[in-house]
């Protein structure tokens, strides 16, 4: 179910602007990895490179290689949609499809995979919603619009939608930044449970969150505005937060910069 991700010399551009440079990083299966760093340091860009969502933006491109269990997803003949089915993504803002019901939102990915049978969809929807800790709250109103839920519920709905297709890896781009503390806690709890099945990579601005949820932490930074983001330090979360080996990491973590 979960796979190892290896990035080697990943460099990403927005047009002529180099956003990240030579990122080398290995993510072990069934772990939570947090990407932290100041704004504009390229952590989201790197995250979006992992499921080839970076190239969706006009003029954006990625160089280097990114392998999922030794398979390079940036090889020329790789089907992008297959990569994205394997590597799910949860976005910063909850983005359920506004025209769809809660149920339809959850099974949207399955429908895209051509699954039509009602019984399979029902079962998968319940399973995904239960995994996302949302089932009890929505089981009586599955036909209601997904956009009618609260922000935290919407985000859990998006997580359910992502895990319904049973991906290998789940990427989360600041999944709690638009949520209040209680909803944030619910999602953090969820991450603990999901880690049993999925490899999770999360971008967060909240260092306490990184410390709470992740096994390993990668610290990204930039020299100055306009420079590409680089990976400064990557280590066990405990070590990063207690005894980082790079001065810059320590400065960031203790709040002296960034």
């Amino acid at each position: 179910m979960a796979k190892r991700i290896e990035a080697s010399n990943v460099t990403a551009y927005y047009g002529n602007f180099k956003a990240i440079e030579n990122i080398n990083l290995t993510v072990e299966p069934k772990t939570v990895t947090a990407l932290i760093g100041p704004s504009g340091c390229g952590k989201s860009t790197f995250l979006r490179s992992i499921n080839r969502m970076h190239e969706v933006l006009p003029g954006a491109r990625v160089e280097g290689s990114l392998t999922i269990d030794d398979q390079d997803i940036y090889q020329r003949d790789v089907d992008v949609t297959a990569v994205r089915r394997m590597i799910g993504m949860v976005f910063q803002r909850p983005n359920p499809f506004p025209t769809m019901s809660i149920f339809e939102n959850v099974v949207a990915g399955l429908r895209l995979n051509g699954i039509r049978k009602k019984s399979i969809l029902d079962e998968a929807a319940e399973k995904a919603l239960r995994s996302a800790n949302l089932w009890d709250e929505v089981k009586d109103r599955l036909a209601k619009p997904g956009a009618g839920l609260s922000g935290g519920q919407q985000q859990r709905l998006c997580i359910a939608r992502t895990i319904a297709v049973e991906p290998q890896v789940v990427l989360m781009d600041e999944p709690c930044s638009a949520l209040d503390p209680i909803s944030t806690l619910a999602i953090e709890d969820l991450m603990f449970q999901l880690k049993d099945k999925f490899t999770i990579i999360i971008v967060t601005h909240n260092m306490q969150q990184a410390a709470r949820v992740s096994d390993r932490t990668a610290f990204f930074s930039i020299e100055k505005t306009g420079d590409p983001g680089r990976l400064i330090e990557y280590d066990n979360t405990q070590r990063i937060f207690s005894n980082p080996s790079v001065k810059k990491t320590e400065d960031y973590i203790t709040g002296r910069f960034g």
Binding site: S39, V83, P96
Partner: protein, 363 residues
């Protein structure tokens, strides 16, 4: 469930479009709205108060503007009421003088000493030509709109969008003349071909002559409504929140699947509105149809034989030589057209309203 922003769906989704790197602060878009408020915060003692509070002004710009907008709003109602009264007052005497059934009689002789005129054939022709025009135009328009909004390179999209808008600026008489003098040739040939091979289908039957037919009128109409539907749907498609498109793509959707999952459902109310505007234009189109149709007064589903007529085209053709009763009869036909348009619009509203639960949060 004390979670805060319950209806943040669209405010939130708009946000990611602006933040190029997604590290920007959450709620950047919301902050824009608050900006004007913060400029009012006290700059010094003069603005920030201190001393007694001034009295609210009784007649300020605020009130004047309120009155102005109220007047503008009321004017619409007054104008519509005035038109309705005028039309009804003129139509009723003519309808009284009519010696045959207004709804079923197939013919238009209101100027005779014993006036005979019926709306059936005209209303039928109006609806038929408009519906066929839409059937032809909508798929093409949506195709163009999707291409312009999601496939074409941005610069090409803008240029083509501009050209499409230009098409809307061509006067309808030009379309009519073009249809009558040039386009009728190819359409006649095509009609003859259809007649040869498909005459067993009633709509393509008949013995000719072909050319100045409902088909020609509908084709010209289709070209005329194409720009409206295209540019409105393009706008709607462009407004699809990037976040929703990315959600679909991240689930492994191909581009077409993304359009089907995120863009088309989101744009549905907009598409319906665009189609209805197109239909409104088609129903009311006058001179282009007066020039291209064969002008007959019978109800026939044959699309390719010379013939066909519409309410508006009939008004244009018959007004010049109409006497008092004739004008009243034409005005009565105008009322019927008005009613048809009203029904169409109400239906469209009902369709949009039926799924308001889903579209409200989207719109």
């Amino acid at each position: 469930m004390g979670e805060s922003p319950p209806r943040s769906a669209d405010a939130g989704t708009g946000g990611t479009r602006v933040t190029q790197s997604h590290d920007g602060p959450a709620g950047a878009s919301a902050r824009v709205a608050e900006a004007p408020v913060s400029t009012r915060t006290p700059g010094g003692a003069g603005l920030g108060g201190g001393g007694a509070l001034p009295r609210a002004r009784a007649f300020g710009a605020e009130r004047a503007f309120r009155g102005l907008t109220l007047a503008a709003g009321t004017a619409v109602l007054v104008i519509i009421a005035a038109i309705a009264v005028f039309l009804i007052a003129k139509a009723v005497p003519a309808l009284r003088a009519n010696t045959v059934n207004f709804w079923t009689f197939e013919g238009w002789f209101p100027n005779d000493p014993e006036p005979k005129f019926g709306i059936g054939a005209l209303a039928f022709g109006t609806v038929l030509s408009s519906v066929i025009a839409l059937l032809l135009a909508v798929p093409v328009a949506l195709g163009i709109a999707l291409y312009l909004s999601h496939y074409a390179p941005r610069r090409l999209g803008t240029a083509l969008g501009f050209l499409i808008d230009l098409l809307a600026a061509v006067p309808s008489v030009v379309f009519g003349l073009w249809g009558r003098d040039y386009f009728s040739g190819p359409v006649a040939d095509f009609s003859a071909w259809l007649n040869t091979y498909f005459s067993w289908i009633p709509i393509f039957g008949g013995d000719g002559p072909f050319g100045a037919s409902i088909l020609l009128g509908s084709l010209v109409l289709a070209i005329m409504v194409l720009p409206i539907i295209t540019s409105l749907s393009r706008e709607v498609f462009l407004q699809t929140p990037t976040a929703n498109e990315e959600a679909a793509l991240a689930l492994g959707a191909t581009r077409w699947e993304m359009l089907r999952t995120a863009v088309l459902p989101y744009g549905r109310p907009g598409i319906i509105a665009a189609v209805m505007l197109g239909l409104g234009r088609a129903l009311g189109e006058t001179i282009a149809l007066a020039l291209t149709l064969g002008i007959t007064f019978n109800i026939s589903v044959n699309l390719i034989e010379n013939g066909g007529n519409t309410i508006a085209a009939n008004i244009a053709n018959a007004f010049g030589e109409a006497n008092e009763t004739g004008r009243g009869a034409l005005i009565a036909s105008g009322l019927v057209l008005f009613a048809i348009t009203l029904i169409v619009n109400i239906t469209a509203r009902a369709i949009i309203y039926r799924r308001r639960e889903f579209t409200e949060s989207a719109a």
